[in-house]
Symmetry: C2
Subunit: 296 residues, 2 copies
C-alpha cells in the first residue's frame, strides 16, 4: 500500500513532495514460479503499467529468474497530479523487496519505483515516488546516486486537495513539455529565494515564510494554460487563511496547505462557485510511507 | 562595528551568507551641523565609498537635512570576497540609525546598506550586507520587499578562511559578469537539489547533506578561471575532514566549514604547499550582527 502525493510544492520542481493520507493504491505481488523471468499484470499489459514495469526492471536488475503476478487496486485518481503512477510503483517494488527478502534500502527502492514512471510519463521523475516510499515531506537531494531526505515540517499542518474532474490525454508528458528549457539567472535566483523561504519556513513553522515560499515563478507560470482556474482557487484559499497554495505536481489538482485557522468549508464553497470548474475538495493529513503486509 | 561575511555558500548565489568573527570594520558617524544635507568622508570621496554613500542615500531617503562626517577604520581586507564593502555599509547605516533615533527595522537597514554596494560593485547585492547586519547564517528570501531571515544551523561549526594575497582590479564586477545569464532547467533543478541539501543539512546538523549541498554547479564553475587554486584547496579540505567547502562570495577567498573533527592544521600545511598560491589561513567562528556603540 502506498499513498498519493503532491510534487513540486511550488519552487521545488522535481525536488520536493509530500504524501497525503487520503488516497492509496494497493499492489499485490505473488511468485508463480521459478527458473525464468516473467511479469504478468492482472487485467493489463505489464509493460505499460508503472507497477508491473517497475517490478520487471527490479527483477532484471537484481538478476532474479522468477515469474510473478502483479495485481493493482487503484484508489488514487490517475492523471490529476496526485502521484498515482508513482504510488503504484512504490507499493509494487516495496512488496517485491519484502517477497524476495532483498533488503534493498529506501533510496534504492525509490530508484526502482522511479523507473516505473517511464511507463506513464516518459521520464523518470523521482519526487512523487520518494514521497510515496518514505512518507511525509521529502526532498530528492541527488539523483546520481539517488538520495531522498525527509524535510522537517510542523506536524499539525493539514492538506486540502482540490481535485478537478478534468482528464487530459498524456497530461504529464504535455505538462513536462511546457516547462521552459532555459531560464534567466534572475529567475533562477528568484526561485532559489522562494525555495529557501519555503524550507526555512517549514523547519521553523513560520507561516509567512511558507506562504511566500510556495509561490512558484517558473513551472506553475509556464503551465498555467493547463489549469486556468488555479489563480482563483489560490486567491480564495489565501483569503480563507490557508498557509500556502501550489499546483499539485503537473496539475490540474491544487494543493492547499492548511492549519486549524484555515476556513476549509469556505474554500469548499468558493471552489463550488468557480465557473467552469467541477472539482472535489478533500481535507486530509500528511501521509505515511509505503506499508507492506505479508500474506500466506 | 560590523563583521566580514561569506556570501553564496555554494548554491545560494545572491541568497545565502554567513558572518565571520575574525574581521571587522568600524565606522564612526558624527553630526556636524543641521539645515542642509552633506556627507563628508574622512580621507576620501564620499561618493565612491560604500559606507558614506549608504549614509548619504539613507539621509536622502529619510529626508534628514544634516551634515555628517563618516570615518571608516577598515579591518576587513577588501576585494577578496569577504564582504568588506557590505560590512562598512552595514556599520554605517546602523550607526546613523542610532544617531538619528530613526528606529528603522533590520530589513530596512539591509536595504539602505545594500545601496552602498552599488558604489563598489555596480550592483546592489544584499547577501553580504544581510549577514553583517543580522549576524550568523542568513538568507535573503525576498528583495522587493527586502526580507532577511536567519537560517538554523549547528552552533559549533567553525569557519576556516583561506585568503589569497591576490588583488584583481574591479574583481566583483568582473566576477558578476562571469555568471551565466541563462541556464538550462536541468542545471536549475540540480542547483535547487543542492540548495535543499545544504538547508536541510544545516537545520538537522547532517554533515553529509551540508557537504553535498555546498557544491555549486553554476556560479563557482563559471568563475573558476578567477581562482584556479580552488579545486586543490577544496580537495585538501575534504581530505582533512572539513564539513564543506565553497568559494567565499565572488572569491578568491575560500570558505571551509569545519568542526572539531576537521584537521585545520593539515589544511594550513596543504595550502602552504599549493604552488602559485600565497594565502593566509584564518580559523574563526560564526560572527554576530552589527553592533552600535554610542559615544558623547
Amino acid at each position: 500500500m502506498a499513498h498519493s502525493s503532491s510534487a513540486n510544492l511550488g519552487p521545488g520542481f522535481d525536488v520536493l513532495a509530500v504524501a497525503h493520507s487520503v488516497f492509496r493504491d494497493e499492489v499485490e505481488v505473488r511468485i508463480l514460479g521459478e527458473g525464468s523471468l516473467k511479469v504478468e499484470l492482472a487485467g493489463g499489459d505489464p509493460l505499460t503499467n508503472t507497477a508491473s514495469y517497475a517490478v520487471l526492471k527490479m527483477l532484471e536488475n537484481l538478476g532474479h529468474k522468477v515469474q510473478v503476478e502483479v495485481r493493482v487496486r487503484k484508489g488514487i485518481p490517475a492523471g490529476l497530479g496526485l502521484g498515482s503512477s508513482g504510488a503504484s510503483a512504490a507499493a509494487a517494488v516495496a512488496a517485491l523487496n519484502e517477497l524476495l527478502g532483498s533488503g534493498v534500502d529506501r533510496n534504492t527502492l525509490v530508484k526502482y519505483a522511479m523507473v516505473g514512471e517511464v511507463a506513464s510519463s516518459g521520464s523518470p521523475h523521482p519526487d512523487n515516488v520518494a514521497a510515496s516510499v518514505v512518507g511525509g515531506w521529502v526532498a530528492v537531494t541527488s539523483v546520481e546516486p539517488l538520495k531522498v531526505v525527509s524535510i522537517p515540517a510542523p506536524r499539525d499542518y493539514l492538506l486540502v486537495l482540490v481535485v478537478p474532474d478534468l482528464k487530459l490525454e498524456g497530461k504529464t508528458k504535455k505538462a513536462r513539455e511546457m516547462v521552459p528549457r532555459q531560464i534567466s539567472m534572475e529567475d533562477h535566483v528568484e526561485s532559489t529565494r522562494r525555495l529557501t523561504s519555503l524550507l526555512v519556513g517549514l523547519s521553523s513553522g513560520n507561516r509567512e515564510l511558507v506562504r511566500e515560499g510556495m509561490r512558484d515563478n517558473l513551472v506553475e507560470t509556464a503551465r498555467l494554460p493547463l489549469f486556468p482556474f488555479y489563480p482563483e482557487v489560490r486567491k480564495s484559499a489565501l483569503e480563507r487563511n490557508a498557509v500556502g497554495v501550489c499546483v499539485s505536481g503537473a496539475g490540474p489538482s491544487v494543493l492547499i496547505l492548511a492549519d486549524r485557522s484555515t476556513d476549509v468549508d469556505g474554500i469548499r464553497d468558493d471552489v463550488r462557485r468557480i465557473s467552469g470548474l467541477r472539482a472535489e475538495v478533500y481535507l486530509t493529513e500528511v501521509g505515511e510511507g509505503v506499508k507492506v503486509e505479508v500474506r500466506n
